[in-house]
């Protein structure tokens, strides 16, 4: 029965007994077991990734009033496998004048930056890779490696479109990192720790009820970090052909594509972990760790669906509007929210939990309302200025 209560530890103990029984030193056995655990997690993720291709195509087709893949296998489920075979047997082209090593390293780094995120994801109370005490920062650090892979891909392809795509994408990624990191500090304040497991454990009340505005800002910044529409600057098809990955073909392109899908799913998961209780669902996680995994996968899928929903219904925003939106609206509002939350957290530390929750909730709503009012009056002034100039020009 131990296996059903704590599968990871039971399996590790069993393997340790087996390996030491073969005469392997304990230290080596532990390293081997660690590698096996990583291998298991990565293989499961890659298999999940294959089905994400199917999920993405099915969902987008429903949004666009189509049926989507439906020929290969039931509901088109085998379609992604056919796609993989196609990608693998495609000719692999390296453009003339490309920087070979950097060119080949970029897709690997892109995929890696997504996969290393899963090291800190708690799938169940007993199932997690490492309980880093700087988990929230670690997510941003992995994002920095993703940024690097994009600029590497864009530069090494020796193509003007891909270079422009990479410039624009990096500008967006670097600027949206700031509200994202700021907003990630808000669950940190509530939980009193940056560790992802501690943040999950602290959510007796989901943090989305304490900080709905923070959850919204995190979602917007996450979509920008993913480089997805409406912030898909890096690969704006109508302007840049395909952006930073234009010269990649076959499985190298597949790495970027699969990395993007898994990244979206992962950020759906982080949205769930930081603001929707992670694997917690009315005590269901105490029943069995497998139920906990099911809960977090369901929540991550839901977050992923919201990200897809926005991607396929909102049009692309022009890059200057996007950067202005980030620097003049999102970043200030995130900073104000962080300061108010920290202040209220100290002020209401001894208050009853109802007062604490309602105070936090109302402060969020108030900040959102005030921010929108300021933005509205500022844009009205801007519009009047533009109209006045037009009137003057019309009278000339």
């Amino acid at each position: 029965m131990d296996f059903w209560n704590d599968p990871l530890k039971t399996a590790a103990d069993w393997l340790l007994a087996l390996f030491t029984g073969w005469g392997m030193p304990e230290l080596v056995a532990q390293v081997v077991i660690g590698f096996l655990g990583v291998l298991l997690l990565l293989s499961l993720l890659m298999v999940l990734d294959i089905f994400l291709v199917w999920v993405e195509r099915k969902v987008v087709s429903r949004f666009q009033s189509r049926i989507g893949p439906n020929r290969v296998g039931p509901f088109g489920l085998i379609q992604p496998f056919a796609d993989i075979i196609k990608l693998l047997i495609k000719e692999d082209i390296t453009p003339e004048g490309a920087d070979r090593v950097v060119y080949n390293l970029a897709p690997i780094l892109s995929m890696m930056s997504v996969l290393i995120l899963w090291a800190v994801v708690p799938l169940a109370p007993t199932i997690l890779g490492v309980d880093l005490n700087v988990g929230a920062l670690y997510i941003i650090a992995a994002g920095a490696i993703g940024t690097l892979s994009i600029i590497m891909a864009g530069w090494s392809s020796n193509n003007k479109y891909s270079l422009i795509g990479a410039f624009r994408e990096v500008a967006v990624l670097l600027s949206f990192e700031i509200p994202m990191l700021t907003v990630m500090l808000i669950p940190t304040i509530f939980a009193g720790s940056m560790g992802i497991a501690a943040i999950t454990n602290a959510q007796d009340v989901w943090f989305v009820f304490l900080a709905p505005l923070a959850a919204l800002i995190f979602l917007i910044a996450a979509i920008a970090e993913l480089g997805r529409s409406p912030f898909d600057m890096g690969e704006a098809e109508s302007e840049l052909v395909s952006g930073y990955n234009i010269e990649y073909s076959g499985m190298k392109f597949g790495m970027f594509y699969a990395g993007e899908l898994l990244h979206a799913f992962t950020f759906g998961g982080f949205w769930a972990i930081l603001f929707f209780g992670g694997y917690r669902f009315f005590g269901l996680e105490q029943v069995s760790p497998f139920l906990a995994i099911a809960v977090i996968l369901f929540k991550a899928m839901l977050g992923y669906w919201v990200i897809m929903w926005i991607k396929y219904t909102v049009l692309r925003i022009r890059i200057d509007h996007m950067l202005a939106f980030n620097w003049k609206f999102l970043t200030p509002i995130a900073f104000v929210l962080l300061m108010v939350t920290a202040f209220l957290h100290a002020l209401l530390a001894d208050a009853s939990s109802w007062l604490y929750i309602s105070g936090m909730f109302l402060s969020n709503i108030a900040i959102a309302w005030i921010g929108l009012e300021i933005a509205r009056s500022a844009s009205r002034k801007e519009r009047e200025k533009v109209e006045a100039v037009q009137v003057v020009e019309a009278h000339r």
């Binding site: 950097v102 005490n133 700087v134 920062l137 941003i140 920095a144 690097l148 600029i151 270079l163 670097l174």
Partner: protein, 169 residues
């Protein structure tokens, strides 16, 4: 030799090699990439020393910021990014002797220091290193003054950058 020492030596070799490549490679963008490898090696050093916060901040700040350096390297140079000129200038012997002197000075200083042969103290279980660091940064008995001075300096740099870039109509 323990496993820790082997890992340390490998990481140190990697860091030194990439640092050497930063200055010897002729291609600007490759130099930026080797710089990233160097700084990543330093981050691994911090992780080996149980300084997880510093390790992660090293990656966020340096590798994240070098992407910008990268962009400037690409934008400010022509398409052909190979540096054609000689790698050394006339002062190479001066720089080399300065480097040797610094190394020798550090070597003699550390000879008299007994901290090298000591093993690091193990954290007691439940020790919150990040929390301790945070408390130390805002505690008047520890580092609140240097911390605030650094913050003021950064804000001044920020205001200066905005002032320089501000477009007066």
């Amino acid at each position: 030799m323990t496993i820790d020492q082997i890992i340390f030596l490998l990481v140190a070799l990697f860091t030194l090699f990439s640092a050497l490549r930063v200055v010897t490679t002729g291609n600007l963008v490759h130099a930026a990439l080797w710089l990233i490898a160097t700084l990543f090696g330093v981050a691994v050093m911090f992780a080996l020393l149980n300084a997880s916060f510093l390790a992660v901040v090293q990656v966020v700040v340096y590798i994240g910021a070098i992407a910008i350096l990268f962009i400037f390297a690409v934008m400010l140079t022509r398409k052909e990014m190979r540096d054609q000129g000689p790698q050394m200038n006339r002062n190479w012997w001066f720089g080399a002797s300065l480097a040797v002197l610094t190394f020798a000075g550090l070597y003699f200083l550390l000879q008299g220091w007994n901290g090298i042969s000591k093993t690091a103290a193990v954290f007691p279980s439940g020790f919150d290193a990040v929390g301790e660091l945070g408390n130390a940064l805002v505690s008047p008995n520890a580092y609140v003054l240097p911390f605030e001075v650094a913050s003021v300096l950064l804000v001044a740099a920020l205001v200066g950058a905005v002032y320089v870039a501000f477009n007066r109509k």
